[in-house]
Amino acid sequence: MAIRLNKVMNEPVSITPLAGFRVLFGAAMLISTVRFILLGWIDDHYVHPTFHFSYFGFSWLPVASEGLLYAVHAILLLASLGVMLGCFYRLATILQFVCFSYTELLDLTYYLNHYYYVSLACLLLVFLPANRAFSLDIAWRNKTAYSLVPRWMPSALMLMMAIVYTYAGMAKLNTDWLFNALPLKIWLPASYDVPMLGSLFAWKYSPWLFSWIGMIYDCSIVFFLWNRKTRPWAYLSVILFHSLTGILFQIGVFPLVMMAGTLIFFSPSWHERWMNWFQTKNRAVSPIRAFASNSLLRSGFILFFAFQLLFPWRYLAYPGNVFWTEEGYRFSWRVMLAEKAGTAQFYVSDGLGGAKGMVDNRRHLNAHQEKQMSYQPDMLLQYAQYLNDYYKRDGLKEPVVTAEVYVTLNGRPSQLLFDPNLNLAEMSDTWSPKTWLNPYPWRN
């Protein structure tokens, strides 16, 4: 079986889907970066906040100065252009991956599933020869053009896309989503006034219908895209589905990224056709030389995908409900899955005797950071540590940091997340289960 799979995966296939993906992904990244800059989010997300929540293991990462942050985004812009055009491709992909991932790692509160996907796709492109067709590297820099690559190369991008969709679909296999139509029952009323579609959203059964269609779509779309016969209809549904989610929710460039990314499933001849619109003459190409023979690269990809396949399941290793504890929630393709909010009132007192004082979160965090922190246990701990350090510098000898945190999930009455007498200053975030959290308080 393994030998057969190895043989199939090393069969030469056309490079054009790979090159097509490069162009479209680069273009989507270009648009996304321009949009990010024009909306003023460099200042809002990175420059103005006085405190940044770090990813586990990345607290060492420094936040660059304002000038450098703009420079990083300028480089990202150029790198995306380079990827799109296939110009200085290897350098462009490395810069794109490093710059994008750096900005995403600066503040945990801005974590988004599609940003995570973009980071992973950037990383994959670094190791794939997507510039060896339809690129300026070939036209201007005399790089050797290839018409064939081993099958595993375009398949790697397809598999990444498959993981995103199917894991997102499997995450929807829960009581709230399927039987209570939550959170769509909460979210759809916001769109009753959308022209043309409003009456569809207002249909009594739409929350259930959309929930089930969403789940079935996510679980199955990759198979329909993969099948040549169903592909055109499947792609039409990709456009409809992501356009609809784009109308319903504020999800930025996510629909664009997915609509562009899923084109990797299209046939080489389809990609050749649209590429020919831009090419005045066909260049002589030669077959690729032994990319597949690089066992180190192949091993790297196998390890990468083993991790991608297994890591989202880590929530099973934790006791409790993942929607409540958030342990294993991120990096698991739980996309638009729950309506969750909280309120966190922190108190600080001096352990050596002193009045317990309330903290005004807005003095330390922006509104987005406060919102995210208010219901995610690891962020609550980080913020407590920050307050501990802040008030130590302010003169308290042994700060005791407590918090009264109420969390609501899918419109249920909010409940205390943990004992408000716990001194959070003494605790730190680890991989271990957060046994200090109260048990899941609601019955489904």
């Binding site: 009456s199 996510f254 909010a341 004082g357 302010d394």
Partner: protein, 364 residues
Amino acid sequence: MSRRGVLFACFVSLLAVGACKDKEVVSSDEVFDRSTLLVQVSDALLLPAFDSLATSAEELRNSVEHFSKTAKAEDLLIAQVAWFKAFRHFQATRMFNFGPSETSLLGDHNENLGTWPIDTAEVESRIESADTKMQDFRRDTRGFGALEYLLFEPQVLVHFQGPLAALRFSYLNELAKDIRQWSARLKNDWLVYSPSFKHDVGKSAGSSTSELYNHWIQSYELLKNYKVALPAGLQVGQTAAAPNLVESPFAHASMQSIKWQLMKLEAIWYGIGIDGKEGIGFDDYLQKATGGEALRNEIIAQWAAIHKVLYPIDDTVKLSELVVNDPAKAEAIFTELQKMTRFIKGDMSSILGIAITYSSGDGD
């Protein structure tokens, strides 16, 4: 392929037909029309509030001008009464600190008219140096707080009859003029902006509903954290009550100010217009949302709990004295206000699906 195409088309058509059947569409009784809320807030609360502020600011300006001509005690009293009236109307506009209220480069509505505590030393310095420009970021030298200081400080008549009287009157007049101009501009700007406000019925970040809701919460939090907790010495780092940090330390209107602002916040919740008639408010919105009924009842009960600790305290009670002499009462007010935060900031935003973030951002 074509057979699948036909099936797909049939499926979409079925959906469309199903969606259009009147009996199966969520009825208008079940759907909240956000425009009704926006119209009620705009026409019955917001515009009348800014109109009253502009009118009372004009009266304040006139009475201050008259006092500056006579320097008599009875005219000072008239000016003080006018200050009270305008200050009260200002509290009714605090929660509308968005749209035209935040377009000035010098700061928003609350910052320009309602900053406290006032830097009295800086005010005196500016009086001495005849600096009456009021066009900088030192908002703690102008607005209602600075005017209150000049009109209500213990030696007020002595100072207005002393050697710097002319300069003092000049600063006083400029303060009143600045408040009048600011209020008149906002009244007009809101009149112009009102149709857009009522027309924008979405609820994503930046929409009218989102702005209204977010600033309603912000205003509530400001009241709780700074009008109550700060003077009560409940903020982190405070070791005792801070009577000097009450909102109105000279006119002693702090307790009334809390009640005035809270009354208006509650009016938005119930949709009670300036004429006292109840219309569409957040309570009606919540009632029509999935799971909103229970939360609505909790919030109404919590309003009652706040009333129970706040309204028995007489208006004549000075907050600066209460936080020192009877801190338990101040703490009780804070505790009941804090209990409400959970309902209106977390649960309500979640059930209504309103974007609570003030800056836009993507999600997934």
